[in-house]
Amino acid sequence: MSIPILQIESLKKHFPVRKGLFNKQVTIKYVVDGISFKIENGQTVALVGESGCGKSVLLRTIIGLESPTDGNIYFKGQRYDQMKKQEIKEMRRRVQLIFQDSLASLHPRFTIAMSLEEPLILNGMSDAKKREEIIIDTLNQVGLDPEFRFRYPEQLSGGQRQRVIIARALVERPELILADEPISALDVSLQAQVLNFLMDLQEKYSLSMLFVAHDLAVVRQIAEHIMIMYAGVIVESAPGAEIYINAKHPYTKVLLESAPSISKGIKDEGFNLNLKIGDTVDPASPPPGCLFNTRCIYADEECMSIRPEPKEVAPNHLVCCHKV
């Protein structure tokens, strides 16, 4: 049994809300509130959730931009808070983050070459010529003309910029890629190109990937395992194909109902949402019990008071719901 490349144990990230003249703490935002999962070597795991569920903060915590309030993160079996400086540096090389907004994640005043060589410089490659070689090679790999390296981000189209972001993640030969909605901002006809491209890369370099998305349709092709996130917790987790045919959690079912689909259109079926009218959960005042109880049509007394624990309903298929 090999060590998973990434393991998260009961990860929590809370933000204190401060108000007043002396920045007194008024309340706490429970943005990520107890998440556990693992990613095996070479596996692609998808995390699906709508905006506000905490998925971006989760990614930022995994990459080290935020420090966890509680819980542990293991990279290749090593705990983050026990890593020495050298090991942290090594981890930074092996784990790369791809952002959603390509325009915002490239420095507007850096040429593409400058943006691409940053990771190399930061990891001690002082030979400029060697850096240039790697940059040209990587640009070719992502299907961009190496000439582009002299341009500025605003001179490139959205699709081209997204490839640059991916190239930047690849220059250091990573083992784990964290992708934060990498295709949402792209034109529809380009989404498939980039998705296919990511799948090709994964095969070629045996990459592991955590792919964050906001709907289940996007990850159908690429994900081997899918986790559904709502209000800071994971409500369902199952192998890829299983979730589409055997979803158990009411929220997952809602997501499936709202995903773009042609067959529903052909059958002239409307949406069958099964959602109580209301608003998304405010992380500063989460309801007691199951976080989905304000919108769940099956919610009962138990759901209003006790937070459900994960239950295994099928091999590798976990659900956090009292009604299952």
């Binding site: 506000g52 529809v188 380009l190 998705l195 995903a259 773009p260 042609i262 259109g265 949406f271």
Partner: protein, 348 residues
Amino acid sequence: MKQNADIKKPKDVQPDVLLEVKNLKTYFYLPSGAVVKAVDGVNFTLKRGSVLGIIGESGSGKSVTSRSIMRIVDEPGKIEDGEIIFKGQDLLKIPEKKMSRLRGSQISLIFQDPTTSFNPYMTIGAQLTEAYLVHKNASKEEIRQRCIEVLKLVGVSNHEEIMKKYPCEFSAGFRQRIFIAMSMIFNPDLLIADEPTTSLGITIQAEIIEALIDVKEKTGNSVIIITHDFGVVSQFSDDIFVMYAGRCVESSPKKQLLLYPRHPYTVGLIRSVPLLEARKTKRLKSIPGFPPDMVNLPKGCAFAPRCEFAQQKCLEDQPSLSEVEEGRMVACHYPLMDYCTSDDTTLE
């Protein structure tokens, strides 16, 4: 002078065709001298009570089309040619004064961004009232009643509470819902929704589409929904109009288009768009290349550079729309007459 824009009763007796767009051309004259033919000869007909879904990506001209119909095209754009016949009148020939009386009362437009559509300093009630008074004078009570009615129309029952609040107190999805209500105050015959759900979360999107379907059912209005999202069009349209580089490439009733698309671009989209349906192969069949450069359109068919079926004729001659089957128009020299969506997808 405020014209008396009467609130029409739904399903009054009227002729069948509501809107006819003929050969619409809207061009943008850039300061550098280049001309962008954002809309280059668009034709369609919209019947009463039906929904037309216009689908296209950035640069396709879909938004400019809707703005042309409303005659709110900004400089440096100009409506060059064409006829927009709405209830028998050519909108391009009537004076601006008359057009402004139509806007909001007979034709309403819903935008993408619900954040900027509302005045942050006025309560919902005040804004709904304003929207009413723009077109018609009425007593406070009449206006209030109408506001309650339109809020009910979009599924909002606690109207008292809602009207007292400010836009910032609601989520983006809810604001969009209220905006739909506001646009329905005078029961317009035509509602144009320009990417109404693009910036919203997936479940909110579904809720908004449901609200639009509901409104249509209750009032019998016609809708033009403009989007890049195939899922949205699949669920909410009777006919689909596919645009690419300023022109229509395919126009067809929804079911036929979804099951048997004919234009290579439409086929490409259906094959490549991440949809819920499982594919028969792991890789999506993507459309190669990049979206067209509107300043430098190629000679011949604008899609030819990316089309795997393109032949010599496609590079030289721009194809025009022709009826390939009953009720189905395609602009292609070699439409794919044998393609079936289930070739690539497991439709249930």
